[in-house]
Amino acid sequence: MTTDRKRQLVTAALIAPAGLWLCVFLVLPFMAMVVFAFGERAPEGGYQAAFTFAQFANLPSRAAAFWNTMMIAPIGAFLCLIVAYPAAYYLAIKSNPKYRLVLVSLVVVPFWTSLLVRTYAWMYILGSRGIPNLLGMIGIEDIRLLNTPGAVLLGIVYGYLPLMIMPIYVSLEKLDRRLLEASADLGAKPVSTFLGITLPLSLPGVMTGVALVTILLLGEYLIPQLLGGGKVFFIGNALVDLFLQSRNWPFGSAIAVTLVVVVVIVLSVAMRIAWRVSGSRQVDLV
């Protein structure tokens, strides 16, 4: 056996498990979904073979879910960014290197508890027995926090913050400190150094974080379910309804396929922008 052939076999062996997994649990189901999307709902629910664009024509009936998702997901990701950047900056640049590792691991501590439990806790805090109750005691009545877009955004920022902090932290951490010294040496005040050097060079991390959080948010179900209470609902919630309640698989599939297409478009545009802004080939988005 030649070494080339051997190398090919090793490569194949390394890729095979992941490839197989993706094939069975991602590619095949997705293909099934595409097929379903052009079918019809069977009278008793589920899927019935057909070829029709009726499901796609019906998409506007779920416009609210699309609208909510498309508005709240990017806004949520942006709010995450606003909160995460200073934290990541502190961790990577300002914190004492001795304690840095401890501080960074604290960021992921929330992941030790299920997001469900933590979001449920927010339901109580924001619900009538939580903060509105406390405000009522000091005479501020009729404050509704739960089941508002604000509550959903709060839950999003709370739940997704670590995912935003991490990539930004990594890009700031590997930033060459001498560049900051060089900038100061050339007369740049700290704010100018931040805007001219630190921020642009951390953009790959920012873009990775924003893309990561946005993509996950587009499929979010739990947070709008608990904190939006049916009033602020995402595509994810619509999908659960369609598949599990009304058992309209073809329509659900059409929505899901549309979501995937939107994600791919958003992602490729974001990647192109990141590539242009940072001007380097070091953008690693997904």
Binding site: D176, R178, L179, E181, A182, S183, A184, D185, L186, G187, A188, K189, S192, G196, I197, P200, L201, S278, G279, S280
Partner: protein, 360 residues
């Protein structure tokens, strides 16, 4: 009215500690205006810390650093009239060459006109002979070109002092020699003070007009390059700058005779403290003579290795009773047949005036 300070940089009893480690210990240093000074020493001797204290990246734990007669304690780097060429250059990877060079000009307040920024950036690039490379990206430039960009970026603001942190360390030998000459030329053209940090004694001797040898956080000797080489202040300098043969001797009670361990006597030039001492002798201060018979009046030994270097040849000679000696022979004074072969017996002669004696 006070006269303009004669020194661009002054250290007054400067000490720098990192926790319990003292990096720089009670240094006094004055760099005259327009000088080219090299801080030379092995790694960890505190030379880079000194440079960083001038740049403002470190603050002295004790003492004062003055630039242009002004106390600089607590003054941020961006407020100091100095610029630095960083080790590994620290060029901004997201800017092209011209943007890198123009960066310092863009920080000026009140703002400079865009046309002036561009003109001055191009002028600086011209000085380092990089015209035509304005729009190149940094990663498209070779190491030597990046070095020039870093230089242009640092001189564009017309600093009163240019700091250079091991600027040539990453270049190959040929390029390094060319850059040494260029740096010297540049310094003369600009007429500003250069402070160079290096561990390479050749670089320090060849470029600067003042060398400051440092060891373990202190200045050991500050003098002109020739003086450092010809009259090293101590054994450390003799060893670190150039090559040296070290010979253990005993100073006889008369204070005028040096006794080698093989019994040979040398006359001391000045009166010395009796006791153990070390003699330092440069390899090129020794002459080799082919020896057929040992007459006992000079050192004799057998050539063990020859390193042929083109214009010179280095010999390692095992001297009877004294161990290995290094001798450099200039080939200009030799016929080709004069190259001594390993295994030959030779006599070593030297001018006693070129012997340096240090107390052990």
């Amino acid at each position: 009215m006070t006269a303009a300070p004669a020194n661009d940089i002054e250290f007054r009893s400067v000490t720098k500690c990192y926790g319990s480690v003292t990096a720089v210990s009670d240094i006094n240093l004055a760099v005259p205006k327009g000088a080219f000074v090299a801080l030379l020493g092995p790694s960890g001797c505190g030379k880079t810390t000194c440079l960083r204290m001038i740049g403002g990246f470190e603050q002295p734990s004790e003492g004062t650093v003055l630039i242009d007669g002004r106390e600089m304690n607590g003054v941020a780097p961006y407020r100091r009239p100095v610029n630095m060429v960083f080790q590994h250059y620290a060029l901004f990877p997201h800017f092209d060459v011209e943007q890198n060079v123009a960066y310092g000009l863009k920080q000026a307040r009140p703002k400079l006109a865009a046309s002036e920024i561009s003109a001055r950036a191009r002028e600086a690039l011209e000085m380092v002979r990089l015209s035509g490379f304005e729009k190149r990206r940094i990663h498209e430039m070779s190491g030597g070109q990046q070095q020039r960009v870093a230089l242009a970026r640092a001189i564009v603001n017309k600093p009163s002092v240019l700091l250079l942190d091991e600027p040539l360390a990453a270049l190959d030998k040929k390029l390094r020699t060319a850059m040494q000459i260029e740096l010297q030329t540049l310094q003369r053209e600009l007429g500003i003070t250069f402070v160079l940090v290096t561990h390479d004694q050749e670089e320090a001797l060849s470029m600067s007009d003042m060398v400051c040898v440092m060891n373990t956080g202190r200045i050991v000797q500050m003098a002109k390059p020739q003086e450092i080489y010809d009259r090293p202040a101590d054994l450390f300098v003799a060893d670190f700058v150039g090559k040296t043969n070290r010979i253990s001797v005993t100073v006889e009670p008369d204070g005028a005779t040096l006794r080698l361990s093989n019994g040979m006597a040398l006359a001391a030039r000045s009166c010395l403290k009796p006791g153990a001492a070390t003699v330092a002798l440069r390899p090129e201060a020794i002459d080799l003579v082919r020896q057929s018979t040992g007459d006992g009046s000079s050192l004799a030994g057998i050539v063990t290795h020859r390193i042929f270097l083109g214009s010179t040849a280095e010999y390692q000679i095992s001297v009877d009773g004294l161990g290995d000696f290094l001798v450099t022979a200039d080939r200009r004074s030799m016929q080709e047949s004069d190259l001594v072969e390993p295994g030959e017996r030779v006599a070593l002669t030297f001018d006693p005036g070129k012997v340096h004696v240090f107390p052990a």
